[in-house]
Symmetry: C2
Subunit: 405 residues, 2 copies
């Protein structure tokens, strides 16, 4: 049911980065569920991780290790290794130790990632058994297979790629992501990997990823449920024949930043387009706020409202529910008499009441579309924020009621 | 699909209070949709109203008027008269003025209440035309008909009644409520009316209602959507032959308080039991918090999680989703290694990880029940809070996708 999400675009290989996929049979026999990624020596790595206090064991390990030299990223699906306490941490360490032994790198140079059911013991032996096959499969043009290998309830793989020229050198930024439910990233998304062959210092790379995540992954929501396993990693292999970027300025940095943000946006929106049970792709834009936070508060009140989400599913322009959500967002001293609301280009609320020009037919025409924008003008300041979300359909209930069966 | 909600209990008439019901045909011809309530001269009235900034026109008027002498409460269903701006305010005033003219009381002695679709003009003439019939129907033993008359998507009428003896005098507390969706009251519930024949000063009555609403109506949630029209009123007719209660202490006050809280609890829980599409009645109890607010934050994170609600609907003990919700509730410096979680009497999480004694069969047995309790022990303080909620079913999506059709 993905909304406006087609087959994978061309995903350009990134010099210095290889991917290998194998099947460990964690949840279902034969399913490709283990992905190993290798980065060239000297790569820098930036990461943003879930702020959920119950973060998963692999998140704890990756967060400890990602600033040091990193050589491998090891991902499994089918089991989140979250809510598993001390045994879960030992299990994550064991899978990394096995990969370290097979490849001859330090155990701390391996970052683990898991996604799937929360609270069940990680099947370490199954993952270990699959590692040789994954290593044998390592190659630079394996992005599409890796994008499929990290999927759980996703219906389509998600990837994006950009290239730009600088001083006659081609620089590539390629990324993949997964996630369709338990999506309200807080600092990062479910799982996202973005790789470039530019050479970038760790501090600049981290700032670039944080900025980019805040404009993309941290602005999407499907059900408001922040995952225990959210991670987004940005790897710079440094293989492009260009000087190292050590400051967040200059033409090369700006070109890289534009490419990274563009890839992040496409990957983040792809997660929403493939949201569990999604039949609509919804953009909620809040303008004229006194602060960015109040724009976000209003945006999320609208984006999380089950009543608005079911109306979107029904293509019903029941705009009173939008007003109710704006009104309960907790904005201090909100003057509702200033607020305009637009559905697509149609003004539905003017100065806090039904717009004189509004007709039900106009609203119904916008709601019938698969891609819908809701724009709220608060008229009390100059801040704006945009959030992307989905509707709430029968299929969402079905998927999540039957997830473990 | 109401959970554990039977036919109305006996609703004792309250001396000094009469109710009349009529049909105005607001949404459907023949539907009883107008309720007039008359209170004896000298009655005191307390009220709590929605904090939604987009509050409805009748809320604005009732909030202005309820501290003065009040003689009539006028309720219509089928139209919320919210998001209607200045014309909505004039419409609410006109219905009150008409009732004032028919009854010879001051216009300001009439409190209007509306519930139904947001954003459509109130059909004033239809309501005016129904007033004479409603007045002709006024009688003290009309509570059951009034409980039905204020329903919208409710599947069953909701009422509760208590009597106690004081100095040989019988004191009655009777109340009715409505609401099944857009339920996350903030200071009050959708619509609730509680009446006693005790004589109570306005300030004591207001404090009693606020306290009682905070223990009941302000602790329920169905979909987290705070309505534009929430109102809960407590009327004291003063007809019981007992001294006026002017202080929040003493045996008579305590007996009245116990009765009012008991009625409020039953009415609030009845709203949850009849929640849109509800198949489960869920109690979320959070203990051991450092503050009441953090207990509420954790409780609502659990109660609003679409993933937990769909697991409840599926009777799936997918307890990892509970940990994920606790972890994202925003509690500062939360030590997850101290947290225990119980499903019914079954310990599912001990010290932050899966309890050694837990089996899937135990969890499944609890989840199969229609009434389920989730207890979270934070072990960082002495505060507790309890919230009542429902599951998220296909029926919820169906009801709200088809609400206006």
């Amino acid at each position: 049911m993905a909304v406006g999400l087609g087959p994978l675009p061309e995903l350009h290989p990134v010099p210095g980065f290889e991917l290998g996929i194998a099947s460990a049979g964690i949840k279902r026999p034969g399913r490709k569920d283990v992905v190993v990624m290798r980065c060239a020596e000297g790569s820098t790595v930036a990461g943003v991780f879930t702020l959920n206090a119950f973060c998963a064991a692999p998140v704890i390990l990756s967060r400890q290790r990602f600033e040091g030299p990193v050589r491998y990223l090891l991902t499994n699906t089918g089991n989140a290794n979250a809510g598993t306490g001390e045994p879960g941490l030992l299990a994550a360490q064991r899978t990394c130790a096995s990969l370290a032994q097979l490849t001859g790198v330090a155990e701390t140079a391996i970052l683990p990632f898991s996604t799937g059911v929360i609270g069940e013991p990680l099947p370490v032996e199954k993952i270990e058994a699959a590692l040789p096959a994954a290593l044998a499969d390592l190659k630079p043009d394996n992005w599409a297979a890796a994008a499929s290998g990290i999927m759980t309830t996703d219906t389509l793989p998600k990837g994006a790629s950009r290239q730009f020229q600088h001083d006659g050198v081609t620089v590539t930024v390629t990324g993949i992501s997964k996630g369709a439910g338990m999506i309200k990233p807080n600092m990062a998304t479910m799982l996202g990997y973005i790789v470039t062959d530019a050479k970038v210092s760790r501090s600049v790379l981290q700032a670039l990823l944080s900025d980019s995540a805040n404009k993309s992954f941290n602005r999407i929501t499907i059900d408001g449920d922040t995952s225990t396993n959210d991670c987004c990693m940005l790897v710079a292999t440094g293989q492009a024949a260009l000087p190292e970027i050590t400051e967040a300025q200059g033409p090369l940095f700006e070109a890289l930043k534009a490419a990274v943000i563009s890839v992040s946006m496409e990957l983040a929106q792809a997660i929403v387009r493939d949201g569990e049970g999604a039949t609509k792709f919804v953009t909620v834009q809040v303008n004229g706020g006194a602060t960015h936070q109040e724009c976000l508060d209003v945006g999320y009140a609208v984006a999380h409202s089950p009543l608005i989400k079911t109306a979107l599913f029904a293509s019903d322009p029941n705009w009173g529910r939008i007003l109710a959500a704006v009104g309960r967002a907790g904005v201090p001293q909100l003057n509702v008499g200033l607020i305009d609301v637009f559905l697509g280009d149609v003004c539905i609320t003017s100065k806090g009441g039904r717009a004189a020009t509004y007709t039900e037919e106009q609203g119904a025409a916008v709601m019938a579309q698969a891609e819908i924008s809701i724009r709220i003008e608060l008229d009390r300041g100059n801040c704006s924020e945009t959030i992307w979300t989905t509707d709430l359909s029968h299929e969402y209930v079905k998927i999540n009621a039957e997830y473990r069966t």
